[in-house]
Symmetry: C2
Subunit: 346 residues, 2 copies
């Protein structure tokens, strides 16, 4: 494992993307999202994705210079056509618009079509929370979650992310796939040659498997509930933006990289001051979260946590230690930087 | 089991409530919600609750003549103080307001404080869906779901309900507690003297139990995910309306019935035509739902269903057969009607 300085990582990502023709503004969102996500310990959605993104830009799946169009279709509603921009960039524009609408009416919602992978949903929801709103970010993804009662997958891991301001710390953030575990977790067990728990994944016939090599689909979280929430995510992302649903989206890594995926997202901002006093809200939220944290734990050595606490812990650690990257991934990152950027960052 | 005519049941409920001093409008919402919910097969939230409600009105927990106040606090936002009205009534007023706001801005959201049990969340979400909106209904409830990693419960079963219009049938409706199973399911096993599956419930020390008599708290759906969603429900219901959170709400059946519970709710309507063409949306939604239903099932005898399909099936059956009620419950219902209503319905 190699530990990298976040600022150096950000510089590598920025310079490579800009040299690939990506605008500084877009490149900045990608770099910021990847580095902060890795700092938060979410390695599946952080800097490890960067080499893939560069290949996707070079192949044309992600447009370096998209023509993004925002159309306001109601006092609280807008649509954004991302024109195959980086999802991190299109999503940030959409959340900024949602927050602006919320300043006027109390609530803003923006649906995004023709987008690409947007990284971690938390990146956007936190933007709203830092503007005194409750933030919501949704995205669809290629079909990977087994339909409840069926043999095959239908919806993607279709995450739901809420961020809520707290009083004296970073916002509360629940960023959850609607599957019980992420595909990445199955892949980690596959790499290690270890068995997976029975309720994580299914084989091609829809049977529960412990062998990760046989896994082709994931279990929805809470059975029909996670499956239903996955459908709701596609309603808000794909249907409201007249885009394609999970089942019709190409897989990220195994489909030809020049082909476009047409991912869709949905963003909302709820302006807290339109409901109640913001300071009182922050303090009630802090008190609720702190009450949960001080409950008696099952295991005396593991304090009770709320969603987002593990990420905050990782962030504290990694700010000091640097971002850990597997050697193989590091070599790939350096190679991509050397190949596509004039400013090779050492 | 006794099978009752829905119209007769509705007449019993209406006349009893009106004779208890409840306004015709409020009584109508309670009767309609209870009877349609029983027709949909959701016996835990249907007419079985009626005797309890009457006792709560007589004791003053539920106010027969509340002074409900609606305050618009943004172009898309309103707050409703229910003054301890029937939740079914306050909730319907709130959803009507949310739908009205959505007609003006594309989205309406109404938080409700000082309310009482509102029955089935689907009753409200379906109102929005029948007005060409996506409907969302949330409510908090007394603490019954074990905090993730802790020994004791903290949030209620805090349900999330979405309803979405379809093209040629009743709306899609996902009405889910954020616990893996409902408390009612545990009680059913307790009555039958049967073991419950290991992942449903916990004893007073937070240990998983198979004996339903030992169960005091429920497992959140999908572990920290369901627990996090339960918290989000309390954010929208209790915190935005400056009300009390699940942990501070009195249990429905075991606390003194004259004491008020201060339940809070949250309702939203998303006006589809502010995002896209409604007819195209309906047809895409229908197609998505039908594609799921025609997937190859795990069990050849059980077709794949989407959320709300079991309720539609029950409704078809019960419109013909009548609403099944256990004899004991029937006796209670008739006794309540005889005691409190001048118009005894035979």
């Amino acid at each position: 494992m190699i530990y990298l300085d976040p600022l150096r990582l950000k510089a590598i990502i920025l310079s490579t993307l800009v040299d690939c023709g990506v605008s500084e503004e877009a490149a900045n969102h990608v770099a910021e999202s990847l580095v902060t996500t890795s700092l938060r310990g979410v390695d599946s959605h952080g800097v490890n994705l960067f080499p893939h993104y560069v290949r996707a830009v070079k192949a044309g799946r992600i447009k370096a210079r998209p023509n993004i169009a925002v159309t306001q279709t109601g006092l609280s509603v807008a649509r954004l056509d991302a024109d195959h921009a980086f999802g991190h960039y299109a999503g940030s524009m959409a959340m900024a618009k949602a927050t602006e609408l919320a300043r006027q009416t109390g609530i803003g919602a923006v649906s995004v079509s023709n987008s690409t992978h947007f990284g971690a949903a938390a990146y956007f929801a936190l933007q709203a929370a830092n503007a005194d709103c409750i933030g919501l970010a949704l995205t669809n993804a290629d079909a990977l979650v087994k339909a409840y009662g069926a043999k095959k997958s239908f919806f993607g891991t279709n995450p739901v992310c809420f961020a809520v301001p707290l009083d004296h710390e970073e916002p509360y953030c629940l960023d959850m796939a609607t599957s019980l575990v992420s595909w990445n977790k199955v892949l980690t067990f596959r790499r290690r040659g270890e068995k997976i728990p029975k309720d994580w994944a299914f084989d091609a016939d829809g049977c529960s498997v412990e062998n990760p090599d046989m896994s082709v689909s994931l279990n929805p979280a809470g059975g029909y509930k996670g499956f239903g929430l996955g459908m709701i995510v596609d309603v808000f992302c794909a249907l409201l933006s007249e885009s394609v649903i999970s089942k019709d989206i190409l897989p990220m890594f195994t489909s030809p990289i020049e082909q476009r995926r047409k991912i869709s997202h949905f963003f909302m901002a709820f302006r807290i001051s339109n409901f109640c006093d913001v300071n009182r809200f922050r303090s009630s939220m802090q008190s609720m979260v702190d009450r949960v944290r001080t409950l008696e734990p099952i295991d005396a050595d593991i304090p009770v946590m709320v969603a987002g606490d593990p990420e905050k812990y990782h962030q504290q650690m990694r700010i000091k230690s640097g971002i850990p990257i597997e050697e193989e991934k590091y070599t790939e990152l350096i190679a991509v930087n050397a190949e596509f950027s004039s400013a090779v960052i050492r």
